[in-house]
């Protein structure tokens, strides 16, 4: 018997209409654990690196994680993987909600789609019975609407449905995959789903998930719940409100948005709206938020309440979490949150990313002001900020007129528009729009995370380590006192020594080596979450989370029966980290691509930044171009990767010098 995992994947060939239940190799679980790890392995094995993200050969994977569906709190993530049409690199995007646990109860760890359906379809997985069904009647339907229609027509109120909206159907590069209160929004995987002709995947399962050592496992779960309760009652002091608790930032609960609204850069990641927050705004936002928010809700088997049901009078109900409450409103320079909830309703039904899309829209209006785009491009566009935002969102999602160009994101749109538009696509890393944040002094840890993160999103690598130093020694001592999550005591000393000003402050403290250590720890926790399918909100993202490097190996051992300790888990992390890196290296990623936006910090330190990258690569066992060396790969049981890279001339037999400098920037798809 297989424990914690099911041991079967569902393979669906959309071109031929073939459906198979395929047993997986337990050895791969030992090597990669599951989720992101085994997704990456399949991506490496199945396709050549030259394959276009919209090729029928691309496997689009919907995976659970190793602990998903077990009683482990917060183990509910769906990890979706393919190539990103926007970055052209490996695209993995994740969502919480209820979908992945249901898939495991239906008897599968992953669904892997290959080929393309000639017409729009949806997939109905009901335990062993799997159907490809016509979705002609769902053309153009909203992503939330589609979930409801499918549940009704199947007469399955307990089915969980992941769906795309019109944006995915039209292969918009910021298209999301929506499910309940969650969405996999980043990197355009909704466009890949649409390209394959899949409108939705409905799943219902009524089978068991087995646990190898039940008593041990449930005790660990009870401890995690106890710690969550403790953390909910004891917020971390001396850090700003949104960093005090667990979960994602509690923006559905809180009204006070002074910090976000005034400190982020709005419009096209340009303008700080200083003194935006005042008494009238606060009163109005409170009134609006409380009138549309029906209930605070969570994902499967999680006591947090990071999301909310939103019912705006006159519009269909939807769900929201975290940051999209702000992004549309603030980027459009609208003051009324009522607009934010209304446009987010439309954006959610269309199925678009709430990070990138508002920036793309603001980018277009900037280009118009600069005379690079013309009135002809905006014919019929209303003059007011609210009206023009709705108008442009419609054009982008429908790929009409200028919207067709903007639908590829700011990087590709700027390439097409030319005339200096490239300068305006200023907030990207590896062609992907970033959090709209611009700061003063370079933070060495954040520099490395921004530069090297393979998910290409800071929230998917940061966490655990404080973002800024504490002001006083008393505060630092208080913080480290019950900091059980550190992998090593040395991290406590770093916090104790880190000063807001002076010798031991940014950018030279934490030192280069310390920065590398900190990044490796934070990155490690995210990679572990992503193979286990545990929400980062209970693990790698917040300060002092209930899951950490000391209890995770016990969870894995008790759930699966695989003997796992901290060293073993670190080895799995390194293996998966290098596998993901190798996939992107084979796609053309090089050191020259690893740079945060030039204007991310006002004060930059080019020489220090080079040293940081050098040290990070060295620590990882990579050459100075960011490519894993033969030795590193061999130690991680990835000799087949080094052989492939050598065969392709990317890696040399005898190495430590970088091979030819190429860049994904220069490679057209």
């Amino acid at each position: 018997m297989r424990y914690s995992e099911i041991g079967f994947n569902l393979e669906i060939d959309l071109s031929r209409g073939n459906i198979e239940r395929v047993e997986t190799d337990p050895r791969l679980t030992e090597l990669h654990l599951g989720g992101l790890g085994t997704n990456a392995k399949i991506l490496w094995d199945r396709i050549s690196p030259e394959t276009d993200p919209f090729s029928p050969d691309i496997p689009l994977m919907f995976s659970s994680g190793l602990l998903v569906g077990t009683p482990a709190p917060g183990a509910n993530r769906t990890i979706i993987t393919a190539y990103s049409p926007q970055t052209l690199l490996m695209g993995y995007s994740m969502m919480g909600g209820f979908w992945a646990p249901e898939l495991k109860y239906a008897g599968y760890d992953k669904v892997i789609f290959q080929g393309k359906s000639p017409n729009l379809v949806y997939i109905w997985i009901n335990n062993d019975k799997v159907e490809i069904r016509d979705a002609g009647h769902l053309h153009g339907k909203g992503a939330v609407e589609t979930q409801e229609i499918i549940r009704k027509e199947l007469n399955q109120p307990n089915a969980q449905v992941a769906a795309i909206g019109l944006a995915g159907e039209n292969r918009v590069y910021t298209a999301s995959i929506e499910q309940g209160r969650s969405s996999a929004s980043r990197l355009g995987l909704g466009a890949v789903m649409g390209d394959k002709g899949i409108k939705a995947i409905a799943v219902r399962g009524t089978k068991d998930i087995n646990i190898a050592r039940p008593d041990e496992f449930i005790e660990l779960c009870n401890e995690v719940l106890k710690y969550i309760k403790f953390r909910n009652e004891n917020p971390v002091p001396n850090v700003m409100t949104i960093l005090q608790g667990l979960g994602s930032p509690q923006e559905m609960l809180h009204i006070d948005e002074k910090w976000h609204t005034e400190n982020f850069m709005w419009g096209n990641a340009r303008v700080r709206r200083r003194e935006f927050w005042n008494k009238e705004i606060e009163a109005r936002w409170k009134e609006v938020q409380e009138s549309v928010r029906t209930r605070l809700i969570s994902c499967y088997n999680c006591p947090m309440k990071c999301g909310a049901i939103i019912s705006v009078p006159g519009l269909s109900t939807y769900m929201m979490k975290c940051f999209s409450k702000l992004t549309y409103t603030m980027a459009a320079f609208v003051d009324d949150l009522d607009f934010g909830f209304k446009i987010a309703q439309r954006a959610t039904e269309y199925g678009v990313d709430g990070f990138s899309t508002p920036q793309i829209m603001a980018f277009a209006f900037e280009l118009k002001e600069a005379g690079i785009l013309t009135d002809a491009d905006f014919e019929g566009c209303p003059p007011d900020n609210e009206g023009r935002s709705f108008w442009l969102l419609d054009r982008i999602v429908r790929r009409e007129g200028i919207g067709d160009i903007l639908a590829d994101g700011t990087y590709w749109a700027a390439q097409k528009i030319g005339k200096g538009a490239e300068e305006y696509a200023h907030n990207n890393i590896k062609k992907h729009e970033q959090l709209p944040l611009k700061l003063g002094m370079l933070n060495p840890v954040y520099f490395l995370m921004y530069a090297t993160g393979e998910k290409i999103n800071i929230t998917q690598i940061e966490g655990q380590f404080p973002q800024v130093p504490f002001a006083t020694m008393e505060e630092r001592e208080e913080f480290v006192r019950d900091w059980i999550q550190v992998p090593d005591e040395k991290f406590k000393q770093m916090v104790l020594d880190w000063e807001p000003r002076g010798e031991r402050s940014n950018p030279y403290y934490p030192t280069v080596d310390m920065s590398v250590d900190i990044v490796d720890w934070q990155e490690k926790m995210h990679y572990i979450d992503d193979v286990l399918g545990v929400c980062t909100g209970l693990s790698s993202f917040p300060l002092k989370p209930p899951y950490h490097i000391h209890n995770y190996p016990k969870f894995i051992s008790a759930a699966t029966g695989i003997d796992m300790d901290e060293a073993g888990l670190t080895q799995v992390y390194n293996r998966n980290r290098n596998l993901v890196r190798a996939i992107n290296i084979r796609r053309g990623l090089r050191r020259s691509d690893e740079k945060p936006p030039q204007d991310h910090w006002k004060k930059r330190f080019p020489e220090l930044e080079e040293r940081l990258l050098d040290a990070y690569y060295k620590f990882k066992g990579w050459n100075m171009d960011g490519i894993p060396t033969k030795e590193t790969l061999q130690e991680l049981d990835l000799a087949y990767i080094s052989e492939d890279l050598i065969k392709r001339g990317i890696l040399r037999e005898e190495q430590d010098t970088p091979s030819k400098k190429t860049s994904v920037e220069t490679d057209k798809k």
Partner: protein, 180 residues
Amino acid sequence: MGEKKKKIVKSIKIDLDKCNGCRACEVICSAYHATPRYSSNNPARSRIRMIRDPMRDVYVPVHAGEYTAAECMGRDKYVIDGKEYDECGFCRASCPSRDAFKEPDSGLPLKCDMCESEPPLEKPKCVEWCLNEALKYEEREEEVEEEVKAEDMEIGLSSLIDKYGLEKITDAVARMSQKG
């Protein structure tokens, strides 16, 4: 007169407003009732089920009650404070009208046992795992009189006599007593 007896009434107070819809109650219930204990979990086997429809803000945890062979002649639909709940949305029966509270493999009915065990738990598992306190356990002692209410039986009997006649009823009682 009957004898006075002490009885413990166990109840779970369900506060729908506090529910975040996470279904942890289903997870831990099905794990607790697995054999061996916690060796597997499967919400479809749970003796507490979330009747949920997020789009209408319907979140109702319901504990499995009695098995019934036949569904009701009519179905109830509650509207509370303007919100319409599902048909049978508060009903605890394991009933042919729906798939809740039946073993998914055999179709055999499931019933909440308040996690009875030896030694007894402090509270049922679903309550323990509900950190939002939508489920709260309450226990109280009641003194009840155990008596046979002769009048109730006689009313029933006389209606049978009216319908079938005294002779047939006496025959039937005699025959049934012989069978033991």
